[in-house]
Amino acid sequence: MTIQMISVIGAAIAVSFGALAPAWGEGRALAAAMDAIARQPESAGTISRTLFVGLAMIETMAIYCLVIALLLLYANPFVGA
């Protein structure tokens, strides 16, 4: 197997696991926020703002994986330019 083929597999693995775990985490965060809004609708504004910031934090992990996958595909340090 050449380095290019391994890089493609590595990129696919990075994106798939990088999508799996943040999706699970975001689902949990969203469910908790829904629960909180259902209990206290008057604090919906604060909860949604915090939720957005938190979701952005979680999503950063997925974006990191995506950036690593793109590095493997387009700027692989192990493949000579």
Partner: protein, 224 residues
């Protein structure tokens, strides 16, 4: 499949020895458009605003209310930084709806420049609000052992601020490119509509996170 790698930049023209990329030209265009729009619509500002002026005032008041909700203090000293960031990011992220334009935030240079601005502004605002000694002391809280982690978090949070904006905008462009490649007619339109949502949401998140960082710098009791 792709015209160019998303990590490289096409050079639009050379200004002497300096390469000017398409993203920079788009940034200049966005800046000129915002400035011209505000200059023309606010040529004769009135106490009783009409039309465009009241729209702009609603926008500014909404941004100020958001800043105040996060910082719990007078929002207006932070308005030049935060408000400019938000308005610029919204217009820059949505510049993709103009045919032929790509959002400059989809290339890593623009988010990097904005993140550097936020990085230095946070320290300047923190020092001017609390004084140099008290500002530096908050790195030793709650325990001097945590100094390396506090310093590291200053860098990593700015780095992730940059990568988040870049990754979201760039990945959306790639999705559009793939869908265009698979089915060119009408199919990409829902994805482009999603792109409007993503653009505004990412501008909002970048701004809110910058506000939170500023808030943590100017007031330790409100650190988020």
């Amino acid at each position: 499949m792709f015209r160019l790698s998303p990590l490289t930049n096409e050079v639009a023209f050379w200004l002497g020895p300096i390469p000017i990329t398409g993203a920079v030209v788009t940034t200049w265009g966005v800046m000129a458009a915002i400035t011209a729009f505000c200059a023309i619509s606010l040529r004769r500002p009135k106490v009783e605003p009409d039309g465009v002026q009241s729209l702009l005032e609603i926008l500014i008041e909404a941004i100020a209310a958001q800043i105040e909700a996060v910082l719990r203090r007078d929002p207006w000293p932070f308005m030049p930084l935060i408000g400019t960031l938000f308005i610029f990011l919204v217009v820059a992220n949505l510049s993709a709806i103009v045919p032929g334009l790509h959002p400059p935030t989809g290339h890593i240079e623009t988010p990097a420049a904005l993140a550097v601005i936020v990085f230095f502004s946070v320290h300047v605002m923190g020092i001017s609000a609390r004084g140099l000694g008290r500002y530096l002391r908050h790195y030793f809280e709650p325990n001097p052992l945590l100094l390396p982690l506090n310093v590291l978090s200053e860098i990593t949070r700015i780095f992730s601020l940059m990568v988040r904006l870049f990754g979201n905008m760039m990945s959306h462009e790639i999705v559009i490119a793939i869908v265009m490649f698979l089915a060119g007619v009408l199919v990409p339109i829902p994805f482009m509509l999603l792109g409007l949502l993503i653009g505004i949401l990412q501008a909002y998140i970048f701004t809110v996170l910058a506000t939170v960082f500023v808030g943590a710098a100017v007031d330790a009791t409100n650190a988020a």
